[in-house]
């Protein structure tokens, strides 16, 4: 009996970690540790609830990792359709918050369907291309583009430009990895450039203001420009080695807006300096690199496309968030992956990581 217990525990532990990819888990663990550290400076009272969010996200990651890629592929269409249904529901009956219709009240909980689309989109398109294993024709790309533009359009109408662009990017990555010819990609790029002035006229005033604010933040020092001015001051004044943990004046005197969510990078950069920034980027780089390895080794087209696009979504979050906080990109509501406070994005990201693990695991099964 005495010996049996550890054995049972060991077997249970084995089963628990068997679908997990340890390098990926290790990198995520380091990022989460770092997140707790930064939260301890930016908003210590939120550590408890963020630890709960992390635990929940890890459990969900484990569940997703335990599913086979076939299983993931089989839910692609239903998840997409439910997502579209919910988006239409939002457009018709959504709760209005901060001038936009983004939330749907289901009675027992409030959901933000655009968040579901961030996962559903690459899942569906990866499934779609996988079905067409023969040589891909141009018409396939057209259908894919259509499948992509429906939710993007719905999200843009909410209006939520930031999320719409992220979902667009997520779908685009799949199409890109599926092998859309460079000529067409170049054509699309040129069209986008030409369409920019037209798009400008369709933007809401507040969206234009954000772009104008980026060009000259000092114009609106009390309003939107305040965010960018204060976060660049925070980053710049951090210098090479930073002011030290909990020593950042910008963060501690609350000059940095939303310093525990979207602008948490400014807190980190002020207190840990350039050195800290390079460490953080290295961690993200390792995570992205591991994602590429998983994509490269994936045995099915579905796995490759999904892994490749999830990895690139991760990169997009990192780049858009840090670019925004350091004044390179306009202010859009994108959190810093795994570090910003908030349960929703954490869960979404860990579902993605769980999928990467699931894809990697299936490769090993095939090899065996």
């Amino acid at each position: 009996m005495k010996q049996a217990l550890p054995l049972v525990v060991r077997a249970w532990w084995q089963r628990l970690i068997s679908p997990l990819d340890l390098p990926l888990l290790g990198i995520c663990g380091l990022l989460l540790l770092l997140a707790v550290g930064v939260m301890g400076s930016a908003s210590p009272e939120r550590i408890g609830s963020q630890l709960t969010n992390m635990a929940l996200a890890l459990v969900i990651m484990r569940v997703v990792a335990g599913l086979s890629p076939q299983r993931l592929a089989s839910v692609a269409v239903p998840v997409y359709l439910v997502g579209i249904g919910l988006l239409i529901g939002v457009a018709l009956f959504g709760d209005i918050s901060k001038g936009a219709r983004r939330w749907l009240n289901l009675g027992f909980m409030r959901v933000q369907p655009s968040e579901i689309m961030k996962i559903a989109m690459p899942l569906l398109l990866a499934w779609f291309f996988h079905q067409r294993t023969t040589r891909l024709r141009l018409v396939d790309f057209f259908i894919a583009a259509l499948l992509l533009l429906v939710p993007v359009g719905l999200i843009m109408r909410q209006p939520d430009l930031g999320t719409a662009l992220l979902v667009l990017a997520a779908g685009f990555y799949v199409i890109f990895f599926a092998g859309l010819s460079w000529k067409i990609l170049a054509g699309m790029a040129l069209t986008a450039l030409a369409a920019a002035p037209v798009a400008w006229s369709f933007l809401h005033d507040y969206q234009r203001n954000r772009i104008l604010t980026l060009l000259d933040p000092e114009k609106d020092p009390l309003g939107k420009g305040f965010h960018i001015i204060q976060s660049t001051i925070a980053i710049g004044s951090g210098g090479i080695f930073g002011k030290g943990w909990r020593e950042g004046t910008q963060a501690q005197l609350e000059f940095i807006p939303e310093h525990h969510t979207d602008f948490i990078f400014a807190v980190f950069a002020e207190e840990f300096g350039l050195v800290g920034n390079v460490v953080l980027l290295t961690l993200y780089g390792m995570l992205i690199g591991r994602g590429f390895v998983i994509a490269a080794q994936a045995t099915s087209l579905f796995g490759r496309l999904l892994a490749g696009s999830i990895t690139m979504i991760f990169f997009t979050y990192v780049f858009v968030n840090i670019g925004m906080v350091s004044g390179l990109l306009p202010v859009v509501g994108v959190p810093l992956p795994l570090v910003s406070y908030g349960g929703t994005s954490l869960v979404t990201l860990f579902i993605g990581i769980g999928m990467l693990m699931s894809i990697h695991k299936s490769r090993m099964l095939v090899q065996k």
């Binding site: 001038g99 001051i233 710049g236 490269a296 087209l301 490749g308 690139m312």
Partner: protein, 630 residues
């Protein structure tokens, strides 16, 4: 899952991955370059700016716009009062400081609770009120002890004040502390910067609807602060711009006469100038004192107001939906003329009841009204005439006609949250009920619609708009309370449109028939006692809305519990040939329209047209015709 061993495809995928990897690397290099720029090359500059962040921007709240009536009587203004404020950033032991303060100045547990709440929501450097409205004595007491309390100060702040107290309360509305929901509205129009430093927000009535006009533009002061956040000196100042003033179409004197006319009865009154749509009086009784809300209402008063069975917080004029009773009849008659179902001369015989299928609809005059033409049907309020008419018109014709007068849709008055009421039709019933058996409209249901009962339910403002439109020969205006907005910067007047919304296509001869009959009501009919001896010609129609079905028994006013008594209604306009005022009065559980509602209208007209002030609230005329209409 199919496994592809197509080396070509795999190779292509790998090359795409390589491109993506290159892109990621490029972007990361870009970020690192940006960091190097900010953190190495520009380090000195940002270092200084972080130090300079000791210069803080302190918002200066603008004073809120005034609300005055059409004769410039102030209905909402601001007064300056002293508040005791604490700057938490300058204090080490907050609790202890407050305890010490309490020995000098009276601080209640409720003040502490409010302060704690403010503290949680506040930004740094802000000073927060622990007590407001200090007396001069309290100010003197504190000033003498000020040296003991660094970080605590007395400040002069502006407070909203409603000089007339419990007056037009649901019309003016009130302001209260900003909540998250208010913040959403502020963010929706990108006004966060302008609301820095603002504590209050319009919650109901005009204060809510015109919040962004009344608020003004926040100014700011650049203040140099030392390391602890203490202000050392002011460097620059941008003055705030006060909010815009509202001048109402409302006549405060008329409003207060109307409110007093109700005495302690519940109800609503809406008086409109037919030629503009300007609202002269908008009454919902009982009133409450909006001053209670300005500084955060205490729990007990809030409970009292909210849980009172009289529901003072409900704006009955806009949100109470009542069956119109017989005030519906003039509009029914007009529909009959317009759709050619009756002529003015055509008569019916009223035996005192109307039978439809197996059901008998009673007229409340025992033995009936005898031979009745259109004039008599309105003057005596004959039910049988309208039972028959409703059946001849059919529900959808009624609905189509009444919709033109605005029944069943919001009037668009400049107060938020108006109710639509219910304009019954076959379509409405289909949408209203889920059960297919209930969705069907039965012809029998149309009969009582004819006398303004049944599913019918309209707000007093809809009734007033309809009677004003009738008085104005079919030219309809959107009722509005604000006459013009005065721009505080330029002094210019922004007029609120008083262009007609539309002209209802009606035959002038038909309108004249109805108007003559309504004049008859006040001369020789159900309204005659209330308007006896009036020095002007007025037109009206009484109405009584059933709250409680008698199931064939006789209605005895005094033997029925008050909350089940009928609602008294009256619609009227005067002078009849060139109407200057049109109104709808509703007295909840007041009994007959002729008894309870018409005398109120008389007082309003006497004051508005002749300047006569009533000596006492409009008395209930117990001797007025017995149950004139159902």
């Amino acid at each position: 899952m199919k496994i592809i061993h197509d080396d070509n495809a795999l190779g292509k995928f790998h090359s795409r991955l390589a491109v993506a990897g290159g892109f990621v690397l490029l972007c990361f290099v870009l970020l690192v370059l940006r960091f190097a720029w900010l953190q190495i090359i520009q380090y000195g500059y940002y270092q200084t700016r972080a130090e300079d962040n000791r210069i803080s921007l302190v918002p200066i709240t603008p004073s809120r716009g005034l609300i005055v009536d059409r004769n410039n009587v102030q209905l909402a203004n601001n007064y300056s009062a002293y508040t005791l404020e604490i700057t938490p950033a300058q204090i080490d032991h907050l609790e202890r400081t407050i305890d010490d303060l309490a020995t000098v100045i009276d601080i209640q547990p409720k003040d502490r609770k409010r302060f704690k709440k403010l503290l949680e929501e506040s930004k740094n450097f802000e000073s927060l009120p622990i007590r407001s409205r200090l007396t001069d004595e309290e100010v003197a007491k504190f000033v003498a002890q000020r040296y003991r309390f660094p970080g605590v100060d007395v400040k002069a702040r502006l407070f909203r004040h409603y000089p007339k107290g419990a007056f037009a309360s649901s019309t003016l509305g009130y302001i209260g502390r900003i909540t998250d929901r208010d913040l959403d509205k502020i963010e929706a129009i990108d006004q966060e910067a302008n609301y820095r430093g603002t504590d209050h927000f319009g919650k109901t009535g005009l204060e809510q609807h015109y919040e962004f006009e009344l608020h003004g533009t926040t100014g700011f002061e650049q203040v140099e602060v030392d390391a602890g956040g203490r202000a050392v000196r002011t460097l620059a100042r941008t003055a705030p711009v006060p909010g815009n003033n509202l001048t109402l179409t409302l006549d405060a004197e008329l409003q207060s006469i109307a409110e007093q006319a109700f005495g302690d009865r519940k109800g609503a009154l809406v008086a409109i100038e037919p030629s503009t749509g300007g609202v002269l009086a908008l009454v919902s009784m009982p009133n409450y004192d909006p001053n209670l809300f300005v500084d955060g209402i205490d729990t007990q008063s809030w409970k009292d107001l909210n849980e009172s069975p009289d529901k003072p917080m409900v704006n009955r004029a806009l949100n109470g939906a009542y069956p119109p009773g017989s005030t519906f009849k003039p509009f029914m008659a007009l529909a009959a003329l317009t759709y050619g179902k009756r002529t003015a001369q055509q008569t019916i015989f009223d035996p005192g009841f109307y039978t439809f299928g197996s059901h008998t609809f009673r007229d409340d005059k025992k033995g009936g009204h005898g031979t009745v033409d259109m004039y008599k049907s309105i003057v005596e309020s004959c039910d049988t005439y309208y039972y028959m008419l409703a059946n001849d018109l059919g529900i959808d014709n009624i609905a189509r006609f009444m919709a033109k007068f605005g029944f069943g849709s919001v009037t668009g008055i400049d107060i938020d949250g108006e109710s639509k009421g219910i304009l019954p039709s076959t379509d409405w019933k289909k949408k209203r009920f889920k059960n297919p058996a209930q969705q069907k409209w039965y012809a029998g249901e149309t009969i009582s619609i004819g006398i303004g009962q049944g599913y019918n339910a309209y707000t007093p403002i809809q009734l007033a708009q309809a009677v004003a439109t009738l008085a104005n020969n079919g030219v309809m205006f959107r009722p509005h309370l604000v006459k013009f907005i005065t721009d505080s910067r330029t002094g210019e007047h922004k007029l609120i449109e008083s262009q007609p919304v539309k002209k209802i296509d009606l035959n002038p001869e038909h309108i004249e028939v109805i108007k003559q009959a309504m004049i008859g009501v006040n001369k020789e009919g159900t309204g005659a006692r209330a308007f006896a001896g009036a020095e002007y010609v007025s037109a009206g129609k009484t109405g009584t809305a059933q709250v409680f079905s008698l199931k064939g028994a006789d209605y005895k006013h005094h033997s029925i519990k008050q909350e089940l008594r009928d609602h008294a209604l009256f619609i009227a306009f005067a002078p009849a040939n060139a109407p200057k005022i049109a109104l709808a009065v509703l007295v909840e559980n007041g009994g007959f329209g002729a008894q309870a509602a018409a005398p109120i209208a008389r007082q309003i007209f006497d004051y508005y047209l002749l300047g006569k002030r009533p000596k006492a609230p409009a008395a209930v005329d117990e001797a007025a015709v017995e149950r004139d209409d159902e």
